[in-house]
Amino acid sequence: MSDLQAKDLHTGYGRVEIVSGVSISAALGQVTCIFGPNGSGKSTLLKAVAGAQPTWRGDVVYRDTSIRDQPTEERILGGIATMPQGGSVFADLSVDENLRIGGHTIRDRTQLRQRVAEIYDRFPALAKKRRARGSDLSGGQQMLVSVGQLLMTDPQFLLLDEPSAGLAPSVVKEVFQMLRELKEAGKGILMVEQNVRDALQIADQIYILVQGKLVYHAPRADIPDLKTLMKVYMQV
């Protein structure tokens, strides 16, 4: 059931440990949310799962195999794609180039071209902006490009770091709608969010992280309503 897991994971920057012994699991067809105050280590945890951050101790397990020593490239090939905080658009690359770098792990040129075309089919708004530079796009368009980049490799698991941060409310709604569709299409989503209210709408499982430690976990059946959750959140 749990296809992607962190087991007793420790990591940090320099000599400072940021995440201390966290275990979480995420499954396909589900949205798993990690909440927590700023500096709680949730983004760092996500990076460790993505392979952008070394795991000091503990393990990362995907489909019952340890991927802890796999570089990001191999994890992507295995089906785990990641969108960093603020999206993954490169300001000086065109939309087209942004999508192609999203599909960097696809070595076959024809296949790459085909994937780009599929993304344009999916997001017709982007097709009109092929040549535009990343920095010339609106916030919403940038988010579209980021999702497009994410989907280039047709991953099984999507790791998202605050996908709603800095977006207009109307765009946030669209993003969560998109995530809901992806979930329904069978993708597994593991995301870090500050926007608890909207995230709860699509969450199947939640974790709360404080100072690098897991303090709360609620599986699908036990997810409380927002009010109750906020109470919990405030207490910890």
Binding site: T72, E73, P84, I101, H104
Partner: protein
Amino acid sequence: MDLLLQTLVNGILIGGVYLIITLGFNLAFGVLGVIDFAVGEWVMLGGFTGYWLNHYLGLDPLLFLPVTFVVFVIVGALVYPMLARLLKGRQHARLLMVFVFTFGLSTLLKGGALTAWGFNQRAMDSFFSARSVELAGVYMPQIRLVAFFFGVLITVAVAWMLYRTRFGLSVRAVAQDEGKARLMGVNTNRVAALVYALYAGLTGMAGVLIGVIYTVTPQMGVQYTIFAFFIAVLAGLGYVPGVLLAALLLGLIQAFVAVYIGSAYSLLIVFLSLYLILLVAPRGILNRGRA
């Protein structure tokens, strides 16, 4: 009128020399985000490689350009891991460490060359040395024409690589945001290593050409370090197409100042113009480099 045209040509051809030194340097800066203070020493060692090969084999030094390229690509690939250790290490002030490392490397290479080969100036001649092409009273030194076209050729080749290949796209991505690029599955360490090797190879070849045009001495490096840095800033740090323009501009400023204002003022005017340009466009003349 003749002198005006001649000065224009002189300036453009001086710019060609600068172009070949700065191209790789700017590329490496873009990807690694650090200034390699040893750039002038790679030029110097490239010059000596050409000189010794020419000395012992007697063939035209320009024929050794490919060999020099290969040798310095290997040297670059060997040096890069040391740089990477510092860049990716856990120390504070990593950029300062890299600065100290390249500065030390530069001193070491210069000192080593001085000890090994002495302080003498060495000259090597190509088939194109001491020949010129005359066109309507304007003289174009053949060796400088060769260097200029070589510079343009490698600029086009590097630009093609950057804008038309998968590897080039990943290089540009790493230069802009290494973290994002890594999340896209780009092996950023491998990209940086290859770019550094490429930079060393290009700079080594620049050394051969400079050695043929001027002379080779263990101390020749310093001024090229300064010029490379200068042009890279003017071009927009990390922005390769700007290099062509910045190199030509610098060559032209030098030539015109020397003839029409006074050579003694050339450095002053060069730095003044750099200052003014950066005041208006802090990201370089085309406003596309790193701020």
